[in-house]
Amino acid sequence: MTGQALQQVDDAALPIRKSVRRLRWFRTSFSDQIDKIAAETGVAYRLDGQKLAAAFLDWLRGFEAQKPGAPQDRRAYVGFAAGMMLRMLLRHRPLTATAQPEGADKTNPAYFWPEGYVYVAYCLNIRSAVLEQDFHEDRRIAPAFGEIRNWWSFRENVSQDPALGVAFLDLFAGDAPDWVTPDVFQSRDFGLMAPRFYDRRTIEADG
């Protein structure tokens, strides 16, 4: 079911990396995601358009503020930007699940946390679509996405600090999460500069 929920979000008018920075496209694609997951799971949702707009604006401001200039950072920034989107959705909480099917299996993430499931699915979907379109990467989600223990941890942690959503999205996407400063973009330039300042063993030990 999780894979089926992650349908491609595409609109041929503009590249997705540009379309997603327009509120009208963001809203339409997010609503489509809700509809698809609602159809698959039987969960009913109510969307607060004002909160969604606020989440979008906060995301856009953050996106512009940390946007890197170096071309080698573009790929990494796609993942980071998707994580920041998840962070803002978790912060503003525009979605409310109003009904679930009787006897829904709560070990399934879609029923354990229906709102969080939509937020994550949408952000993974956008991330995958941009990586596929701009970097010709195959779509993928990590096994971690389907493991309910990760969702217990995810829900508990982001309720205290939505910024951790950035790290959890990396985990669900199969990338290495940054649990310490998840909402600060780390340029690849830093990795290139590091040998000038640190001993190689220090860098390797740091991971």
Binding site: A13, R22, R27, T28, G49, K51, A53, L57, L60
Partner: protein, 234 residues
């Protein structure tokens, strides 16, 4: 623009007050709690007469609703300010679009008790100087029109007057005015856009920016900057 251009509406615009009147009476009958005891206290012949009048008005309002439906079928460019300012009857087209948008905005803000007037919107358009003049940037004109709509009380308990206008109503009118002008300012792809959906997006965005917009209201440059920036965002 001569003085007579500003003060005298064209003949087609004269239909606007009639439509406003019909909608206003229906609105009052439907929404005014104060009128309810009066209606109930009427002796039967008069109550029957009131019902008949209400029925007639319902018919007129139906015509107005058809007008709205027709608006929704127009091409997207119909609602774009860039198209409106250069069309043959700009005040009329602006008034229809503004009234539709303002009422959608106040309804989304939970203020069904407020009305919008196409007549007053037309007056606001006609009295807003330098519209459509060469070289003026669209967001600046839109920002000024938003202020004009509020200054002329195009939306309120009794549009065109200050009756029943408190702080809350004025704040609601400001946000509705900004939302509608934002909607008219954004770029459109006539073949693809859902106008009602676009309007909702503009209203929701405006509501999430309420503090920023009201703080900039008295500063035309700042309001125009906000209009331009958020039109790009939408």
């Amino acid at each position: 623009m001569s003085v007579s251009d500003i003060l005298l509406p064209n003949l087609r615009e004269l239909t606007l007050p009639a439509r406003d009147f019909a909608r206003g009476v229906k609105h009052a009958l439907g929404h005014s709690r104060r009128l309810a005891p009066v209606r109930d206290a009427l002796p039967e012949p008069l109550r029957g007469f009131a019902r008949e009048v209400a029925s007639e008005i319902e018919g007129l309002a139906g015509v107005a609703r058809e007008g709205v439906a027709l608006l929704q079928r127009y091409t997207a460019a119909r609602f774009g300010l860039a198209e409106i300012v250069v069309c043959p009857e700009p005040a009329l087209r602006f008034a229809e679009a503004a009234r539709y948008g303002l009422e959608a905005a106040v309804a989304r803000m939970g203020r069904d008790d407020l009305m919008a007037s196409a007549t007053v919107a037309a007056i606001a358009y006609r009295t807003s100087a330098s519209l459509g003049e060469p070289g003026e940037r669209l967001p600046r004109a839109a920002a000024r029109l938003a202020v004009a709509l509020v200054q002329h009380h195009a939306v309120g308990p009794a549009p065109g007057t200050t009756l029943g206008l408190g702080v809350d109503e004025t704040q609601t009118a400001m946000l509705a005015g900004f939302a509608v002008m934002l909607w008219m300012t954004i770029e459109r792809d006539a073949a693809r856009e859902d106008e009602a959906g676009l309007l909702v997006v503009c209203i929701d965005l405006t509501l999430s920016l309420a503090g920023e917009i009201t703080a900039a209201w008295m500063d035309p440059d700042r309001l125009a900057t906000l209009m331009a920036h958020y039109a790009d965002v939408v």
